[in-house]
Amino acid sequence: MLQITHLTLRNWKNFGKVDVDLQPRTFLVGPNAVGKSNFLDSIRFLHDLASVGGGLQAAVAARGSVGRLRSLVARKYPDVVIEVSIEDREPGRSWRYRLAFAGSETARIKEEEVWEGNRKVLSRPDNKDAQDPERLAQTALEQVTFNREFREIAEFLASVSYLHLVPQLIREPDRSIAHRNDPYGGDFLDRVARVNKRTREARLRRIEKALRAAVPQLSELRLEQDTRGAFHLEGRYQNWRPYGARQDETVFSDGTLRLIGLLWAIADGEAPLLLEEPELSLHPDVVRQIPLMLTRVTRSPAGQRQVILSTHSMDLIDDEGIGLDEVLLLQPEDGGTSVKPMSQDSEAGWLLQGGSRVSEVVRPRTRPDSPEQIALF
């Protein structure tokens, strides 16, 4: 199964320089507004480049303009660069994709390269670009006629998914902005409905079983269609009436909906999954199970599905099986936010050996300078 094993960024949003390995499970930690979402967004940007109806200009426009996504620390070297290494960890096949672009409103490609192993299969600008500079407004990744040699990674990037469920949007999809592939869950029920019935029902049964641990009173989870054709998630609540009453998503709690969404997303697809604060609305003891669940559920005969998530939850990162290389620490610095695996912090290793938990080492490192000011508000 393909995974993103390394990410390089230059001048992307609040990052000056990032050069970091990504693991099958990667946990992003850091203070508020340090750029955890922006880090995930660099991978979403590649997804937007490669997906149908996407492309470089659309991906930039969705983020405002080149000027808005270029880091404020960019000076001498103004290009925005995103580079990923993509590997199949088992058989050892590897790809590398590099994109450098500049511009203000619209983006102009400065460099686009693809390697398969050590072989360069694309290098732009090339002669054709020199003859027709307009070509530099589009990446080869987004063009089926050009990406034949590396379509595999174009498809891989297009299938990366991102989830940041907003329960209210599941309940009231009319409020959502996008009605297809809405990361905030506006089309969540439609997405569930699009999966074929057998797979869907099998998956809902699995989710129901897992859910029982957190929400024991909920059973018989299924998808129903109302007379207007809209889909609803229904379940039986044991505690409402002696024999239980069927209820739909409009009365499910935030935590229940988030957990259903999370479990669904994990079971849906094989490409990397980007998660934003999966701990929201969940009990700490449920949160503690998330990393274990991620490992178990994302493992298949084809290998491990990659999950990259941002979190503020110290409960989420405290499992003793979480490696220091899986925790990426984001810290504000003069040259932009730095991103380092905790395994590079030698003191962290000692503290863990000497009795501290991971969260106890991470927490002071991600603490704002003086949060107590908030109490003085």
């Binding site: 000692w350 503290l351 050996q353 000497g354 106890e360 002071p364 003085l376």
Partner: protein, 204 residues
């Protein structure tokens, strides 16, 4: 984090203001701070702190509480301290060090100077004493922050942590308090010596 300040560890959030003011008194500032959520957690993590203190200076603060004597406590929980480690024990709790600046404490709480204990290190429970003093405060709003309501079941009031940290940072004078609290005086001397030994520059 050496360049950015000294590493500190302490028992609870209400120690934070005192620790940062104390470090400031030495002319440096706090780098990473480990708030340990209680003494048992601090002791559990102490071997790791001690290991890290072989490479940089660490100031670790704990309360003597009901133990009989500080040196016994230190030799029990930290039999072989690293070069950079300064484990300091407040007798019997950090509130004693704060009470030791008697004038500022009286002024802050709005109580007569005579009510503030002359030997804070000899108090059995300095925190309780501080809250008791607050009950006699002329300042109603501060009193409501520091003193628990009858059914709260807690030793301190709802705004205790915020207010005690503000006092420590804005009003408390460690050098004056050290004249009244021998355990604070020893702590300051020992911390200063650690910094000198490690070659960290002092501003005064």
């Amino acid at each position: 984090m050496d360049a950015n300040g000294v590493t500190v560890a302490f028992e609870g959030e209400s120690d934070r203001g005192m620790v940062s003011r104390l470090v400031q008194e030495l002319g440096i500032k706090v780098g990473i701070s480990y708030c340990c959520d209680g003494q048992p957690n601090l002791f559990r993590r102490l071997p790791g702190f001690n290991c890290a203190a072989s490479r940089s200076v660490w100031f670790v603060f704990t309360d003597l509480d009901a133990e009989s004597c500080a040196p016994d406590l230190v030799s029990r929980v930290l039999p072989s301290p690293s070069n950079g480690m300064a484990l300091r024990v407040a007798v019997r709790a950090t509130e004693a060090w704060l009470l030791a600046d008697r004038e500022k404490m009286a002024e802050w709480l709005g109580v007569r100077l005579g009510l503030v204990p002359r030997e804070p290190d000899s108090l059995d429970n300095p925190k309780l004493r501080l809250v008791d003093l607050a009950r006699q405060s002329r300042h109603r709003s501060l009193q409501s922050q520091l003193v628990p309501s009858r059914n709260s079941g807690r030793p301190v009031g709802p705004g205790y942590t915020t207010e005690i940290n503000l006092f420590a940072q804005k009003r408390w004078r460690p050098n004056v308090a050290a004249l009244v609290s021998p355990s604070l005086d020893r702590a300051i001397r020992s911390m200063r010596k650690k910094l000198e030994d490690s070659g960290t520059e002092l501003s005064n």
